[in-house]
Symmetry: C2
Subunit: 480 residues, 2 copies
Amino acid sequence: MRSVDRENWRRRFSEWFREVLDEAEIYDYRYPIKGCGVWRPYGFALRRNVLQIVRNILNSTNHEEILLPLLIPENFLAKEAEHVRGFEDQVYWVTMGGRDKLDLKLALRPTSETAIGPMLKLWIKSHRDLPKKYYQIVSVFRYETKATKPLIRVREITTFKEAHTAHATLEEADKQVREAIGAYAKIFDELGIPYVINKRPEWDKFAGALYTIAFDTLMPDGRAMQIGTVHNLGQNFSRAFEIKYLTKDGRQEYVWQTCYGISERVLAALISIHGDDRGMVLPPNVAPIQTIIIPIPYKGEEEKILEKCIEIENILKKNGIRVKLDNREDITPGSKFYDWERRGVPTRIEIGPKDLREGKVTISRRDTLERIRCREEEMVDKLRELFKLIHESMKRRAWSWFKENTYRISNIAEGRRILEEKGGIIEVYWCGSEKCGHKIQDETESRMLGEALDLENMDIGECIICGRKTSRLARLAKTY
Amino acid sequence: MRSVDRENWRRRFSEWFREVLDEAEIYDYRYPIKGCGVWRPYGFALRRNVLQIVRNILNSTNHEEILLPLLIPENFLAKEAEHVRGFEDQVYWVTMGGRDKLDLKLALRPTSETAIGPMLKLWIKSHRDLPKKYYQIVSVFRYETKATKPLIRVREITTFKEAHTAHATLEEADKQVREAIGAYAKIFDELGIPYVINKRPEWDKFAGALYTIAFDTLMPDGRAMQIGTVHNLGQNFSRAFEIKYLTKDGRQEYVWQTCYGISERVLAALISIHGDDRGMVLPPNVAPIQTIIIPIPYKGEEEKILEKCIEIENILKKNGIRVKLDNREDITPGSKFYDWERRGVPTRIEIGPKDLREGKVTISRRDTLERIRCREEEMVDKLRELFKLIHESMKRRAWSWFKENTYRISNIAEGRRILEEKGGIIEVYWCGSEKCGHKIQDETESRMLGEALDLENMDIGECIICGRKTSRLARLAKTY
């Protein structure tokens, strides 16, 4: 059985998260600038595997990877009025080169709509150039004045996947929004991260967008966290940057744009949601090490056991399994178990004298802590089967906890109490007015995630504030 | 035969380079900040394949990939005195966050010795933690006041591979320098880029290093270009950052460090050195597209020919060949040939009515422009064989031109005339003194690349300035 005391974990989650990042050597937050951290080798490998999933899914839907400059001239950042208002308090400015004061301040990209703007103007001439679907994976910067938190609220977001698309019509841009939502759902499913899909309220949409759709998950402490957003930008940026195309019937028309992003918060979610008292539990498809081999030494048989371990390591490598043999000599098997459990390695193979004698291996699952024995010849198939089972079981468990913590509420005081005591997400009927929306937020002391877009059945209810009939269900939570 | 008029190409190389970057959609230099450009999809894919080679070679020698923050606090950048003097005129400074003036200026990394310093101090405790061998691939920034040139002299170097290592002794650091030189030689060999290995003169070593060893290649215009450097840092940075370890016999000792870097100049070299009048010629191992299929339509058989092309595309894909079918309808085969030759695709398959009838395909080599026909069943093997042949032949051709343009000189006026008229690298005996060194530079109107480290036979000669006996051969060139 899983060793997790949910209530205890909820209360000490913040501490757990810091400990795991540190002890599992994921991300070192002791760098001498607040809000900046270092990806260590094990964390970097995890990040790379997650990004590979992101890239595969984007590439398979004909997105092209590019790389835009970090610096954005002040006058370009300012071209779209709403946009610059939304970001100007958060932008880092380069004002000096060497000892010279620069003529024009340069922003560290907070996001790249205004960096790709002048390029799209050059690259798009005619309807035959459309659609364009680009993405890049880069660092973005926010001058955060609130308390920072590693991977969750930082000043250098080192892992920001941002996509930028251009289309001939509003309908095609809307269709692209739906494609992006489908792609993001696939990415989070591959990572076993549960989510709800919400249309952000008007007052919380992306600066410069027509509308914003967001994926929200739930962290172990009961707070919701945004893990992906998709925006329809309409013609706001294309008008500001004069990105026009020649239509089939010879007119000049502004393009319609979308953009969508996933940040390293997805890694924070991945690390946290599947974890337990012992540390991380990683899905096998992204685990840097899928199987750790640990020799169980026995007097006089040390060498034979180590040889067998090396043989098994080679067999697994040859079969494309990411495997590591822990043959450190000055440390007990128990301490090794601890280390690799902390790091979330999905399966462990122990080889002791009994295994050697019987031609068997003992495999332990990190997620359920179950142990099974199998014949050496069956080991590769068994592991492959286990990887699938583990992935499915982790995903099911995460979704089941997520659903348990989502509450349909018809009494606003009850909603406030739930969020206060246990956290989670509450759902209430909402007429859609800004006035009622703010009131719900105030009275539940939480933040509106927006209108639910992923309901199977649309019922009619009454706005929890004004009583008007509505089919709009709002979700709220305390958030990161 | 290759269509390249060397003399003409030399003279118009600068123009050729800009045209190719633009027309082959490698790197768009029209971004609104001087010295900053955009990697377009085809260029990005080429860059990715080159970086994969770099990563494979570093990973196979137990380097671990990490990611350090972009920003470096002013007081950390200044910790190593030589280092900060070497970079202070070139550093971009962030001085504002939102509307606030920052208490401490933050540098955009010009390189990361001073960013990894405080981390190594935390990560290294004992001799058992050594050696450490890290690398990262990131953007670095230089406030260039000279004229900029895409990929060669830019303000955002978007592709900088920097390795940082720490060792217990000077001997081990020296050994690491040799390992790094071996790894770099392998990388450039994989790319077919010829090089010489030189120990930079004292006055031109990396700021903060004991010594600097550099790889230099020759661009088509006859100017030398540095494509990689390896530095032994001694204990200069470990003293500044207090990076100590506990020795086996219980003393506290400063670590010995090395660092080495390769920038996107390696991409500039790759694109330029193998090129010809028609555009780029890419080695098959890094070409984003290894084979382009072009249907040669014939009245009434268009559909059958297209079907065959799709069939062949699928066969090649299944065999792991990076292939693309150009089935654009509104453009002639001739224009398609032009487009893909420009982009350097190493092989082209044409399918016309005759090929269809006879069950054959026509394959053209981009490097030699030779055409061969083979039976469809032999196509996959033939292509794989061709990829090897093309790689070898490109490498041989590049090296042969490189050697033709290296001159052993015993008369200084002759050296100046060669560099003035044809460019290339000259080699002269040099006593090693700074005075004679500067004089050779001045009289040949060139830059000293340093002392040759890759000579097979060490002869004795006389310093071209003072006549003293010496075995030191200096290389000089006009440089980028």
